[in-house]
C-alpha cells in the first residue's frame, strides 16, 4: 500500500495525532486520548497495541524501549513517535477531511 494513499481510521488518526509532537508510551497514549476528548473516546490498553503494531508495520510510527518502574514489575515502557511518512500521511488525511467538510457546507442558507 502506498503511503500516498492514506486510509487511516478515526482511531488511527487519533493515535497518530496524540504522538505528533511527543514521544508517548502505550498507557500515556490511551490516557491522553481520554483526557483530550474529555472521556468521550477511550482506547483500552487491550485494543491499543494491535493498532500501534499495525501502524508501525506500515511505517507510520516508530518505537523504542524506555525505562522500567516498580509499578511495572521491571517491564520497560515502549515509546512511540511519528515517522516522516506518518507525519505526511496524517497531514494528508486531515487535508482530505477538511476538504470534504468545506465541500459539504450549506450554501446560500438553504
Amino acid at each position: 500500500m502506498s503511503p500516498k494513499q492514506p486510509d487511516l481510521s478515526n482511531t488511527q488518526e487519533l493515535l497518530m495525532s496524540v504522538i505528533e509532537f511527543r514521544q508517548l508510551y502505550g498507557l500515556e497514549i490511551s490516557d491522553s486520548i481520554e483526557k483530550a476528548t474529555k472521556g468521550k473516546r477511550k482506547i483500552p490498553v487491550g485494543s491499543l497495541y494491535p493498532i500501534l503494531k499495525r501502524l508501525e508495520a506500515r511505517g507510520f510510527i516508530k518505537s523504542e524501549w524506555g525505562e522500567s518502574t516498580e509499578a511495572r514489575e521491571g517491564a520497560r515502557r515502549r515509546y512511540y513517535s511519528l515517522t516522516g511518512t506518518g507525519r505526511s500521511v496524517l497531514a494528508e488525511t486531515r487535508a482530505i477531511r477538511d476538504a470534504v467538510n468545506a465541500y459539504s457546507q450549506p450554501v446560500g442558507g438553504i
Binding site: 508510551y25 502505550g26 498507557l27 483500552p44 490498553v45 487491550g46 485494543s47 497495541y49 494491535p50 493498532i51 499495525r54 522500567s68 518502574t69 509499578a71 511495572r72 514489575e73 517491564a75 520497560r76 515502557r77 515502549r78
Partner: protein
C-alpha cells in the same frame, strides 16, 4: 567435495546456533514462570530444586475432590472451601500464563503486561479500587487484546487467500 563439506558445516553451525538461541529463549521463559510461581507460593525450593509446594498440591487435590463431589452430588450445598478455591485460582492462573505466553512475543508481553500492571497498580494503590474491579478490568483487557489478535490473524488470512 569442498563445497559439500562447507555446506554441511554451514548447516551444522546454523542448526546449533538456532538450537542454542531457542534453548536460551526457553530458559528465559522458564525463569519468568518460576518467578511468578515463587511469588504466589506455588513453588518451593527443596534440595536446590523447584518443587510444587506441598500446601498447593494438597489444596489442588482437595479442591479437585470437592469439585468432583459437587458434580456427583448435584443439588448439595457448595463444599468449595476458600483455600480450595484459592488453590484452584492460582492453579488456573499458571495454566493461563502458559497459554498466554504461546500467543505473545516476549516484546509484546513486556510492553502490554507492563502497562497492564501499571494500571493495576494505579487502581489498587492510588484509586483504592476493590479487588473485584481490578480483576474485571484485567479480564476485560485480556479479552480485548485476544480479540484484536484474532481479528488481525483472520484479516491476514483472508487477505492472503484473496491475494492468492
Amino acid at each position: 567435495m569442498a563445497t559439500v563439506v562447507l555446506l554441511a558445516l554451514s548447516v551444522i553451525i546454523v542448526s546449533v546456533t538456532t538450537l542454542a538461541l531457542y534453548r536460551n529463549h526457553q530458559t528465559e521463559e522458564r525463569r519468568k514462570i518460576l518467578q511468578h510461581l515463587l511469588r504466589y507460593n506455588n513453588l518451593v525450593i527443596k534440595d536446590g530444586e523447584y518443587q510444587l509446594s506441598k500446601l498447593t498440591r494438597v489444596q489442588i487435590e482437595e479442591n479437585i475432590k470437592q469439585i468432583l463431589y459437587i458434580k456427583i452430588e448435584n443439588g448439595e450445598k457448595s463444599k468449595v472451601t476458600r483455600t480450595g478455591l484459592k488453590a484452584l485460582t492460582s492453579f488456573l492462573k499458571v495454566r493461563m500464563l502458559r497459554l498466554r505466553n504461546i500467543f505473545l512475543s516476549p516484546d509484546e508481553r513486556e510492553e502490554w503486561l507492563g502497562d497492564l500492571k501499571e494500571v493495576q497498580y494505579r487502581l489498587r494503590y492510588i484509586e483504592k479500587r476493590s479487588k473485584w474491579v481490578i480483576w474485571l478490568y484485567t479480564i476485560d483487557q485480556h479479552a480485548r487484546f485476544g480479540w484484536s489478535k484474532l481479528d488481525i490473524l483472520v484479516s491476514n488470512l483472508v487477505s492472503k487467500i484473496i491475494g492468492g
